[in-house]
């Protein structure tokens, strides 16, 4: 017997299948529902406000600003670069919402392992933890989220949902992307004595710009 058959034969012997697919799906849904009845409370009912409170909390440490529209983003990126003593040069995630903007004084640059500043556009956000959501694809290569030292991410305010369950419900039945990244704050580590230090391998700073 090969390894696969041996494993499945043991599993079927010890846990004979008894439920049909429909019944299993119902049970799985009910279990998720039971968990939804005991979730951690949201501090604010306004989703952007809750997102902001979570992601700017000390233990996450990202920064946030809000703009009226996409067209104001290049100016905000220039301001950020200046405030942090960076060159006005940024790797732009190839999302049409970004590449279609007039970048004026900010020079687009290719993404490299030592990129100082990259600008991304998130697919959505989760208010309960202040998490950004990215689905990899031609307009969202994974490495834009991990290579730069400073990461500025634009997030449309209307794309923020309250809970992870809301994300899961919206994506149910949709094709699974190669990578789904939930990003909550800048890269950090507590590997030395449990003390939090930032910029382990991913970005040292995460700046989130709400659009709208």
């Amino acid at each position: 017997m090969n390894a696969r058959d041996a494993i499945f034969s043991a599993l079927r012997r010890l846990r004979p299948e008894h439920l049909l697919t429909d019944a299993l799906e119902t049970q799985a849904r009910e279990l998720a529902g039971a968990m939804k009845a005991c979730l951690p409370p949201l501090e604010f009912s306004d989703l952007v406000e809750n997102f902001t409170a979570r992601v700017t909390a000390d233990k996450v440490g990202a920064t946030v600003e809000r703009l009226a529209g996409w067209s104001a983003l290049p100016e905000a990126v220039a301001r950020y670069a200046e405030a942090h003593g960076l060159e006005k040069e940024a790797a732009l995630q190839p999302d049409p919402r970004l590449t279609g903007l007039d970048w004026g004084g900010v020079r687009p640059a290719p993404l490299k392992p030592d990129t100082m500043l990259a600008v991304g556009a998130a697919r959505g956000g989760i208010a309960e933890t202040g998490s950004l959501v990215f689905h990899s694809g031609p307009d969202a290569p994974t490495l834009y989220n991990f290579e730069p030292l400073h990461h500025i991410v634009a997030l449309e305010a209307r794309s923020v949902v309250a809970r992870f369950e809301d994300y899961a419900a919206a994506e149910k039945g949709q094709p699974q992307p190669r990578n789904v990244n939930f990003i909550t704050g800048a890269s950090g580590t507590t590997d030395i004595e449990g003390v939090l230090a930032r910029g382990a391998h991913g970005p040292r700073r995460l700046h989130i710009v709400f659009i709208g």
Partner: protein, 466 residues
Amino acid sequence: MNAPVGTFKERAKKALGDSNLRVALDRTTGNARTKRAAAVAAWPEFDEARKQAAALKDHALDNFAYYLEQFERNALASGAKIHWARDAKEACAAVIDICRQASAKTATRSKSMLGEEIGLPHALAEAGIRRVETDLAEHIIQLAGETPSHIIWPAAHRTREDVSKLFQKHHRDHLLLTEVEAMVASARHELRNDFFGADVGISGANYLVAETGAICTITNEGNAELTTTPPRVHIVTAGIEKIVATTEHALQLTRVLVRSATGADLTQYTTFHCGPKREGDRDGPEEFHIVLVDHGRTQMLEEMPEMLRCVRCGACLNHCVVYRKIGGHAYGGAYPGPMGSALTPVFDGLENTRDLPHACTMNGLCKAVCPVDIPLPTLLRDWRAKSFEAGYEPPGVQRALKIWAFVATKPKLYRLALSIALPLLRRLGKDGWISRLPFAPAWTDTRDFPTPPKQTFLAQVASGEH
């Protein structure tokens, strides 16, 4: 890699005498307990959520074959290649075989306890493949030539002063650093080229999601994605018990897992990986392999199924009074602490590891903090009973237990024995503590024994004190 030296008792004794280890363990586990307590305090229904989390895992395990087959089907459809392994040897062989077919010289690795469990670091070394550990703590212990001593903080036994010395010696810039931030920056600089030059990236998985065929990694540093995205080949090694029904279940489990592990609401990076690079993708691996490992899981499904719920958060280690004194290396297996004492006898045989289930005070804290409500004290007690029944306990222990059982089942005799023992013990005590027990001197080498009260509990009740 250092194989454990000596017996558990010898290793524990050595650890108890190591004051540097005490400092490192106090700092790491103390920080972890404080942060977890704050996170749990902000979630009034956390205790109910723990029980629901256990139900989510049980649901997947009760329908194990169905969900594992669904996972396999969906993963294959995404372009992943699946490899099955009954044991550690088959699992390592599968990984090495993939590396050889890719002509790999260098493999980056993001922390995976399953990898440690199956001895993957050793297997890669034997195959002549350069292994680069990318998790900061794994990097530290790779420089030190050690194995992990904690499942979340593998370098929990190292102080910042130790890390500073290691980095000065091994890092290319040879700087003497005093701040943790600077040490982290130094590791970032040191490992940058390896992320982008590796032929193969190896990760573990926190979940195998049946409904999508995706695997999930949960990290804080971003090293998992930098390990799995640039190389041409991504290999996942995962225990089959990581199976969950849906993405929603995985995310719900992550809520309790992360709070229990680091006290954060969510780790910085929670990533679902599904198959290789697709048309139009600018990055991503061209080959995506998943090695699914049994290595005792089917045996556990029969003998202690609750243990298969374990999400490897490390909370039971941080709260264990034994772990906090002796650290992880004394346990001698890949997994230390209470969950390790429950798991290691499955992997290494009870006869060789019978001391581990005994290294427990039965205070129940591990169960109380477990995010999936595993009855660890019960599982450890079951191992003790099995060890006794199998005759693995030393003759002295077996005789003593038999005598105790004989006396304890005869109330009059038991009370008589106590009435003789109490005054004798009280004569040894000073200021409420006994500093040396004549019949158990090792017990009092590193701690004191409380002087018993004048009367037994029953006598106190009879005299109206209770």
